[in-house]
Symmetry: C2
Subunit: 420 residues, 2 copies
Amino acid sequence: MGIIVQKYGGTSVATAEKIKNVAQSVIREKNKGNSVIVVVSAMGHTTDYLVKLASEISPSPSNREMDMLLSTGEQVSIALLTMAIQAAGHQAVSMNAMQVGIITENVHSKARILDVKTEKLLQNLNDGKIIVVAGFQGVTPAGEITTLGRGGSDTSAVAIAAAIKADRCDIYTDVEGVYTTDPRIVPNASKLEQVSYDEMLELAYLGANVLHPRAVETAKQFNVPLRVRSTFKPDDLGTLILGVKNMEIYKPVTGVAADSSQARIVVCDVPDKPGVSAKIFSALAAKNISVDMIIQSYARQSNNTNDVAFTVSSDDVEKVLEILEPIAKELQASNVHVNDNIAKVSIVGAGMVDRPGIAADMFKSLADAGINIKMISTSEIKISCLVDKQNAKEAVKRLHEVFELGCGEIAEVKGDLPNF
Amino acid sequence: MGIIVQKYGGTSVATAEKIKNVAQSVIREKNKGNSVIVVVSAMGHTTDYLVKLASEISPSPSNREMDMLLSTGEQVSIALLTMAIQAAGHQAVSMNAMQVGIITENVHSKARILDVKTEKLLQNLNDGKIIVVAGFQGVTPAGEITTLGRGGSDTSAVAIAAAIKADRCDIYTDVEGVYTTDPRIVPNASKLEQVSYDEMLELAYLGANVLHPRAVETAKQFNVPLRVRSTFKPDDLGTLILGVKNMEIYKPVTGVAADSSQARIVVCDVPDKPGVSAKIFSALAAKNISVDMIIQSYARQSNNTNDVAFTVSSDDVEKVLEILEPIAKELQASNVHVNDNIAKVSIVGAGMVDRPGIAADMFKSLADAGINIKMISTSEIKISCLVDKQNAKEAVKRLHEVFELGCGEIAEVKGDLPNF
């Protein structure tokens, strides 16, 4: 008997039939004696439809009006899901962000949550009602409607769970949990029963699309136990994400991830003097470009220059080249080189810290497979290697095997293979 | 230079192209040096679509959740229209009912407006912005979302105009104004330049579908000058509706209307004693049935009984018969008779009061045409006659001619003939 926050994404509420199924899933939790708050996204392709409408009106609609427009999608979902729960004989009430008081900063299209008011939520829970809250949206202290950007509904759910001190936040999705690696690449990838916030964060950033890193960060900050589980298999407990894993989970590596959405940029032969890196990365930061791996090689003794290499999202390459052009000239760089035929393969595990040799094992197994490593970057719980895109799949398979992550079963998976 | 409130209905904003046209119409008013507040309805068939969605979820969705659902339609419209105005280079801002503070009573699906806050409206107008407000919706003092029911957006516009002390409220629609009668029946019906609130109210209640009576009542109460005009003919001034017409407008009859949506009910041979009518009409009122014309004949001397006849909306007939069954038994009525093959033909005019003989002229011209009058009811500015449905069209034509309402022109009209 506690408070459970559930979150269902757009595909889970795409049709009237699916909404009725979600209603049953909500009621199951309620019937266990729990108080239930449900967070939902907009139905299926609603957001795409609204974006298209806006594009017919204006080539560059203002972010404020886009938020006004898009936030209607979630409001439709909460009304319909509440009707479905009521039709099944349970008390329920829908609330949009303004009614709950999901307070955000005054930034449109990607606002961060500052506070979630609990007064009205608690009042409705005390009345025995299931509460259905609109995800993805917020309101500023001045009453402006905002949206939270990518991963918004997951973040709404976690923030509400944190504010109301929920016992758990269940993220219902179309996969069964978090896997040791992509089951489309390694069919015997095993579902993780537990994973720590930090590991999940690394996995999320490294290309595992199950949860947005932002939601994981919020869960970590407020210590909200998160469960990723399948909308279609209600009895499967999925993967629990929490602060510290149980002691018996001892494998040093938890998962293997691959991300082929990045490109490597090398600024060649820049002078080896203070301020060079700062100039390059300040300029990129000023234009809001996220840089991932950064490598600066040893200075060449011959001419006192070196190369600065880094990775960015493939989508940003054009913008990056534009920004770098004047800087490369100023620094008398010999060349700016782009390679988007790359993939980043990473291993993640909280157990790495006190286990020497994990990195060496990784490099050795890639070398054994004849895979060349182009760049390396590490954190306390992660090692990433940049390899040629065509080697990514093989690299993932090898690493998954070497670190003994497989299970006996062959996972049943849908969807296309990632485009390596 | 004043404040103008404009209202555009669902057909005026049905597509991206139409929304752009409305934006131009708004900007034209702004360019005259006026401050402009625009009230819009949901796009075209949005409301029907949402109602259908709800019906797929639940046979009887709660009014609260229907309001939550339907109010999204207007929110989509205000975002898109604001984008269109901005794309045309003007400052604009959208506001939903919660943001404006359109306060209603705590009744879902047909709430009445209690108050419209002007603080934020004035602030935005002072900043030089065009404000686009969602019609049809409101919010209770406790923050519940409500809708206003039929004629809601017209009423929103008038209420905002009243609160902000606007110089005028322009209701843009697909007709060019208020006509002396339906131009589909009488091709030389003339457009009225001016009409008084009271006349417009009678015309609205009598079947002229241009404006909802509720909006007219609100305009009358707060003395808001209303203009009904065409979205597609911006230079046409349409019809001005105001408190007192100009002195030179002297015709005793302003318009002729016909309404074939009613049915006549006669409760036959009830005792002629106090309390009989009260019993019948209290029972109907308790079930929220609106009764229009009521006639009680002279008591028959022979058996001391009489007949009570009245008209109700055809849609209500079944419900009325159900309500009347036990009462008719109790009163020992000989029969309850229904006739829905009737139409109500009315003449309206503020000039009738001090012109004797208008009623006689009406009855005589119907008699000359061989049209039998089945019931008569009058008010200070209106005379209505119930006739057989097949005679309604001819009756309208005759009366329009007798009271000299025609103009030289033949109106160009679209749409089907009313179903007489």
